[in-house]
């Protein structure tokens, strides 16, 4: 390796200084070109994300994705939550309440760590009673600003 680089005569741009490093080979220029492209792409995407970022607070929507699934006497209610706003929401609290005849029979809560712009997360609430017999409410109760 070392020999390979020392073998080629080293043309120096400034003969007054001692040059330990030979001038860049074609291979080094090619990798430098590719590397610059990669970095430029990353920086460009950051700037693009910056330019298109909407200055909106989080807009959190939650909805039930599938029908209720019953297994072993338990009722699974799958849901999906998404953030249509511009900022990230932290510690998003989701509450599910099952009301039968106007009184809350069962409730569940769940915390989602992070929900950034356009991000979706899925989960499920589990009830002992059939949610189809009563009124099921899924709602987001709170979040923290990042």
């Amino acid at each position: 390796m070392i020999q390979a680089q020392n073998d080629s005569p080293t043309p120096t741009n400034s003969p007054t200084e001692t040059v330990k490093r030979p001038s860049r080979s074609a291979a080094e220029w090619v990798t430098f070109g590719i590397a610059s492209l990669i970095l430029a792409a990353i920086a460009g995407l950051v700037v693009y994300g910056w330019a298109t970022k909407r200055d909106l607070p989080p807009v959190l929507t939650i909805h039930q994705t599938e029908t209720v699934r019953e297994t072993n006497g338990q009722f699974y209610v799958p849901f999906e939550i998404s953030n249509a706003g511009g900022e990230t929401a932290k510690s998003v609290q989701i509450i599910a309440e099952l009301r039968v005849n106007g009184t809350v029979k069962e409730s569940g809560d769940l915390e989602i760590d992070f929900l950034s712009e356009n991000e979706r997360q899925a989960g499920a609430f589990v009830f002992d009673q059939d949610p189809r017999q009563g009124e099921l409410r899924l709602r987001v109760s709170s979040y923290k600003a990042p």
């Binding site: 390796m1 680089q5 490093r21 860049r24 080979s25 990669i38 970095l39 990353i42 950051v46």
Partner: protein, 258 residues
């Protein structure tokens, strides 16, 4: 010396430099890759902070490249160090991105800003590792020669040398993995993984290990030829190191998890 040979040497040398850089990046960057706090910081960082992180990485790695660097040659001009820094950052970003995809932290559903945040924050330790690769993975040629002449190594039995290889692998595995194995990220990542994805992770581990063995091979070629163990070809060495690592991981998981 013919021109074609010179050119081939150039490319081989460049490839070798890049592989050494990437290996250093993996060695240094892996523990932070398995840290969910870094993912979170990346997820919630805003674009100006990401640009600042890129600039800071550049500044730090530039200073490192003035003294260390991943190339065999020393950078004495600032412009060389700057160009090497760009390359180190690109190698770091590619490696970090690859592992983030492998760990399913970045997938097709990840929003752009979040993916960029994770990538940029995780690529900082990788880039530092790339810049330190020479310190990790190579001794100076003189040093190697001294060691190999001081250690004729012919009176060691093959069996003994093989055991010392395995022991070295085991110690290395412990040093790198001890700060990963007791963390919550492992069960968390494992719970989300599917069987085909596991096979992909195994394939990637083997390739990365092979690259590191290959890079280390260039550093200590002479010393290695003195070694008498049965695992002296890069392929068998890689597979042996993978098996030893699996064993070490199993032992650590048994002892470190409740």
């Amino acid at each position: 010396m013919g021109t074609s040979r010179e050119r081939r040497n150039q490319w081989a040398g460049e490839l070798n430099d890049l592989i050494r850089g990437a290996s250093g990046g993996f060695l240094f960057g892996i523990p932070l890759l398995y840290t969910m706090e870094v993912w979170w910081v990346g997820s919630s960082a805003n674009p100006p902070r990401l640009l600042l992180a890129l600039l800071l990485t550049f500044a730090i790695v530039f200073m490192l490249n003035r003294t260390a660097g991943f190339r065999r040659t020393r950078d004495i001009y600032a412009i060389d160090a700057a160009m090497d820094t760009v390359e180190a950052m690109a190698v770091g970003a590619v490696c970090a991105g690859f592992v983030l995809v492998l760990l399913q932290e970045i997938n097709l559903q990840t929003p752009l800003n979040e993916a960029l945040g994770k990538l940029i924050y995780e690529s900082i330790p990788f880039t530092l590792g790339v810049a330190l690769a020479n310190q990790f993975l190579s001794g100076s040629p003189q040093e190697n020669q001294q060691e190999s002449s001081a250690n004729p190594g012919s009176d060691q039995g093959t069996l003994h040398a093989t055991f010392s290889d395995i022991g070295g692998t085991l110690i290395g595995a412990m040093i790198i993995a001890f700060n990963i194995s007791p963390t919550d990220e492992i069960p968390m990542l494992a719970s989300a993984v599917t069987a085909p994805w596991l096979l992909l992770i195994m394939a990637a581990s083997l390739h990365i290990s092979y690259a590191i063995v290959f890079a280390a091979g260039f550093a200590n070629q002479q010393k290695r030829q003195q070694q008498q163990g049965i695992f002296q070809r890069p392929l068998s060495e890689t597979i042996m190191s993978y098996l030893v690592s699996l064993l070490a991981a199993m032992v650590m998981l048994v002892f470190l998890t409740s």
